[in-house]
Amino acid sequence: MKTNDVILQTGTKVVFFIIFLFSIHIFFAGHFAPGGGFVGGLLTTAAIVLLLLAFDLKTVQKALPFNFMIVVAVGLLLALGTAAGSILFDVPFFTHAYDDFNLPLFGVSSLHTAMIFDAGVYLVVVGSTITMIQTIGGDS
């Protein structure tokens, strides 16, 4: 008899977006509530791993055509760049800056450079975990 994953694959298509949105929520909540770049990145990885379970390696690589080592490098650059930006203003390394901005749709929001650093952490976590899983799972 032919096996058929239709329920798993259909379910995954919906659940993937729920997990992904939750990971983005966790990422943005990090400053005032539990969460941040690390767990956010791990949750995004979990969503991608679910895709890997339901489909196969090739399909997922086609859907997300990134070289995840480059994602790691971009994340590191982002983190280092945020910290090193302070060198330009001649204040100690890692000094962050923040201000209130009046954004459309969101209203007055306080934006902090620590978030850019966190985005770097997020990219490094996603990139390195997916690289690990792809290298162990693949048979190149």
């Binding site: 590191l76 280092l80 302070s86 001649d90 204040v91 000094t95």
Partner: protein, 493 residues
């Protein structure tokens, strides 16, 4: 430019990240690595001049006040070590172009070297004990990559041993920091020193001191804890071995020196006496190993252990001459170990074996290599105009002043054994009847001999120019012997 003291850490890190984008392009990787190291070296020289002129440089990250943020401290000790590390890495990278092979170069070899240098420089510069743990992990992770890169059977076996030992010692490091934090309640090294002085080092702090000696002793290979080193270091290819031999154990030595001069100075009859005994035993164990082997790599590896013992013996004296001598010997040993590993790498490349019994008569075919090796060997043993002399002289002087006559006898006797072990390589490899050599390319020989020769020249200059170097070394030993200089610089009220 208040961030100057961070540049020797940030720049290698930045270039390592950039190299991740050019995985396949070996030529770009080589050029960028050399450029990155040259720029870092320039800035570390500028920093050294600044430290010499203005005293200890400190910076607390993120503009937080001193004991609450992570403080980076660049005193003469750390800036000397940082500069030497970058210099040695520069020459080893140059040597790697020929010696490491395209396969490894295409698999993140240069980024791993630069990440390791980031960790090494960070560990030398940090002023926060937990941050030191993090930088230890940074260079250890990179060294795991370097030791296993290539995937030969021997490398795989020895890397498991190496990783196991280091994971255990890192866990002990965390436990030791946790214990210290629960007693003292701070992680800033200057602040820890102040708080320990306030409570006058009760028994539990002495226990923590021994725990730290255990942790850093595993990293730095002191007497009963050096068991992992000979096997693990003989596995990776020569440039990696040179990098490890010149830099990694010295971080353990630096960490012992820093903690035993800054924190645990109120119960010296226990802590420093133990350090003294262990350092002498380390020297004895290293000497036995250096004489026992007929393998080039193993003889040099046991010489690393001897040097660790000699430096720590100097530190354990806790007087001016001993400490200055230890600093002199530390920098000398990094340079000369780099040079010697590169030279024996060339010998192994020419003869195709590391077994001394299968070599002979290289003087007839490769005379310049022979003379260079002889100079480096004399430098290692400490023959007067060369680099090992001043350090050992001052260490022995310090030991006599402190009344450790027997200890200094061991140091002097160990010099003879060091000389015997390295001259034996010279006699077996360079004298005697020429054996048949496998054909090697002259071009690769020429590329490999240049960085080795430059390191030998630097070590000669270091020995001959002692007069110019003395003020720097005195500054370094002053900071180590008078913790108040360090504390005032960090916690300026």
């Amino acid at each position: 430019m208040i961030n100057l003291l961070l540049l020797p850490i940030i720049l290698p890190f930045f270039f390592a990240i950039i190299l991740l984008f050019f995985k396949e392009n070996v030529r770009v990787q080589r050029t960028l690595t050399l450029i990155g190291l040259a720029i870092s070296f320039t800035f570390s020289l500028v920093l050294m001049a600044k430290v010499k002129a203005d005293g200890v440089q400190t910076l607390t990250l993120g503009s937080w006040p001193a004991p609450f943020g992570i403080t980076m401290v660049s005193d003469m000790v750390s800036v000397l070590l940082v500069t030497t590390s970058i210099l040695i890495t520069f020459f080893i990278v140059m040597y790697s172009f020929e010696a490491i092979g395209k396969e490894r170069e295409r698999f993140y070899y240069y980024p791993a070297v630069l990440f390791m240098l980031t960790g090494v420089n960070g560990a030398f510069t940090t002023g926060d004990i937990f941050n030191m743990f993090v930088f230890f992990e940074v260079f250890l992770m990179a060294s795991y990559v370097l030791i296993v890169l290539g995937g030969e059977k021997k490398q795989l076996r020895e890397s498991i041993k190496y990783i196991l030992v280091n994971v255990i010692s890192s866990a002990l490091f965390v436990v030791a920091i946790a214990l210290l934090y629960s007693v003292i309640g701070t992680l800033n090294m200057a602040d820890i020193s102040v708080k320990i002085a306030e409570v006058g080092q009760p028994g539990i702090i002495t226990v923590i001191a021994i725990l730290f000696l255990l942790v850093f002793g595993i990293k730095g290979a002191i007497f009963p804890l050096y068991f992992w080193l000979p096997g693990s270091y003989s596995a990776p290819p020569i440039p990696v071995l040179a990098l490890f031999g010149a830099l990694l154990t010295k971080i353990g030595v630096y960490a012992i020196t820093r903690t035993y001069t800054l924190f645990f100075i109120h119960n010296m009859p226990v802590t420093h006496e133990l350090l003294l005994v262990l350092s002498i035993l380390t020297i004895v164990a290293g000497c036995i190993g250096a004489l026992a082997y007929f393998d080039l790599k193993h003889i040099m590896i046991y010489n690393i252990i001897i040097a660790v013992g000699v430096i720590l013996f100097g530190v354990a004296q806790m007087n001016d001459a001993g400490m200055t001598g230890a600093m002199f010997y530390l920098i000398h040993d990094m340079i000369i170990k780099g040079a010697l590993f590169l030279l024996i790498g060339i010998i192994i490349a020419i003869t195709g074996t590391s077994n001394l019994r299968k070599m002979g008569g290289l003087m007839k075919t490769n005379a310049p290599l022979g003379w260079m090796y002889l100079i480096a060997a004399f430098g290692l043993a400490g023959i007067p105009p060369l680099s090992g002399f001043t350090g050992k002289l001052l260490i022995v002087k310090g030991a006599f002043e402190a009344g450790n006559v027997w200890g200094s006898v061991f140091i002097l006797a160990s010099s003879l054994i060091v000389l015997l072990s390295v001259i034996r390589i010279f006699i077996y490899a360079f004298w005697g009847e020429p054996v048949e050599l496998p054909t090697t390319k002259r071009r690769s020989y020429r590329i490999m001999i240049v960085p080795a020769a430059l390191l030998v020249v630097i070590s000669i200059a270091y020995g001959v120019g002692t007069e110019w170097i003395v003020p720097y070394m005195t500054d370094a030993s002053d900071v180590l012997l008078k913790p108040s200089i360090y504390i005032d610089a960090v916690l300026k009220e």
